[in-house]
């Protein structure tokens, strides 16, 4: 049985130009920022936000991050991805890139920057294994913190049109009397839902 720990989350939103009737037939791509060696937005988080949006509004087509990066190689690799909308404008001056983007019909590009880190952990648990059997005794606990920011770029205007950030923190516990019982705080999942809900409000005509 998996029990759940407590999570505290805050979401900030700053939107400049929301599409009032949704995004129509256009597609959205969500990409993780990974341009520095210590900067690594998890693929799983990007995927989670994409699924959150497309599962709640089935009319929104969210392109897969890896498919998009492959389709536009080498322009969206960690070292070559545009950092500002002006760089995107320059990139679109390249005919093959503009053609590919037109094929993909992408109206919004959402960049997610951030990660989930373990900020604290402590354990006084010991496990033993003997021919007669085994078991664990003790207590472990750890804290995780998620900080993510999503920046929304519009392709038609080649401009930033919104910014959403979320931070979530929570503590997980694992007491053990023979069997360890994990009580996990879904920190990353809460951050994903928080940022996903805000993006859904931005992109969907129904929310």
């Amino acid at each position: 049985m998996l029990l759940s720990g407590c999570v505290t989350a805050t979401v900030d939103e700053m939107v400049f130009n929301e599409p009032t009737a949704g995004i129509g037939n256009s597609t959205v791509v969500i990409l993780g920022r990974r341009q520095a060696s210590d900067q690594d937005t998890e693929l799983s988080f990007v995927e989670c936000v994409g699924k959150h949006i497309s599962s709640r509004d089935k009319s929104i087509i969210v392109l897969g991050e890896l498919d998009f990066i492959d389709a536009l190689y080498p322009w969206f690799e960690p070292r070559t991805a545009p950092l500002r909308p002006t760089a995107l404008k320059k990139l679109m001056q390249r005919r093959p890139v503009a053609q590919k983007m037109a094929e993909l019909n992408t109206e919004y590009m959402i960049w997610i920057n951030g990660n989930t880190e373990r900020t604290h952990s402590m354990s006084s648990m010991s496990c033993t294994l003997s021919p007669a059997g085994g078991g664990c005794f003790g207590f472990s606990h750890w804290s995780d913190e998620s900080n993510y920011e999503a920046v929304i770029w519009n392709f038609t205007d080649m401009a930033e049109v919104g910014r959403v950030s979320t931070n979530a923190s929570g503590q997980s516990y694992m007491p053990a009397i023979f069997i360890p019982i994990p009580i996990i705080a879904p920190v990353k999942g809460t951050a994903c839902n928080g940022i996903g809900d805000q993006l859904l409000k931005f992109l969907s005509a129904h929310y």
Binding site: S37, D40, E42, D70, A71, L72, Y73, P74, W75, E77, P78, R79, T80, K90, Q93, R94, R95, P96, V97, K100, P131
Partner: protein
């Protein structure tokens, strides 16, 4: 992980202290002294770009097309690593160069003053000068990393130097559950190869040593 499962299965069958001790010792020996081997494998996308209007020849020396990195561990608690990047190098550079240049020709021998090379404008000879890696056990960070350092010779059909370029590439992959070290190193190597391809594709026409030479073919590259 397979070794652990095997040991646990045998432990479950025997369940004696002596047998347990023996099998745990074997398990420790396997995990401490083994050699980890990775044949780098992956798919590489074709670049989306205007092709450079030249016919490029490419010559892969044996050392490049069979490139193997061997790292003998200095610690008894860690394994030796053999990382074979050669076939993946050839696959990546073939895909990249075919998408980057108007025509790509594979040369069968190193160009020299005596060689009868096909009609190409220049020949590219890539070399892997160095490969370095880090594992989570070395850095205490849950990331596998690979650095590659390349040297490229651009020569005429008679083997005369046109330019020499050097370049570094970097790839990393975070550890993930159910992913073993070999798979993680493979993914880091693929990322490094993609990074190498991206860097080469974006900078080839901007290399000062090549810019003037390329002008004769009417290249107009965006800044």
């Amino acid at each position: 992980m397979e070794e652990l499962l095997l040991a646990l299965m045998i432990f479950a069958k025997t369940r004696t202290l002596a047998a347990t001790t023996t099998w745990l010792s074997i398990l420790l020996l396997i995990s401490a002294c083994g050699t980890r081997q990775v044949l780098v494998q992956g798919q590489f996308p074709t670049p989306v770009m205007d092709r450079v209007p030249i016919t490029l020849g490419v010559w892969y020396e044996d050392e490049f097309s069979n490139h193997v990195f061997f790292d003998e561990t200095k610690s008894k608690s860690e394994a030796d690593w053999i990382v074979e990047t050669g076939p993946a190098q050839v696959a990546m550079w073939n895909t990249l160069l075919a998408g980057m240049f108007e025509n790509l020709v594979h040369i069968q021998a190193r160009p020299s003053a005596d060689s009868q090379s096909p009609l190409v404008d220049a020949i590219l000879i890539p070399h892997v000068e160095e490969l370095q890696y880090t594992l989570p056990s070395q850095t205490n960070v849950n990331v596998y990393e690979i650095w590659l350092r390349y040297r490229f010779e651009v020569v005429s059909t008679r083997g005369e130097a046109i330019a020499e370029l050097s370049m570094t590439a970097y790839g990393k992959t975070p550890t993930a559950f159910l992913k073993n070290s070999e798979k993680a190193i493979n993914l880091a190597a693929i990322m490094a190869l993609r990074d190498a391809g991206a860097h080469f594709a974006l900078n080839f026409s901007h290399e000062p040593a090549l810019q003037q030479w390329l002008h004769q073919f009417g290249t107009t590259e965006l800044d």
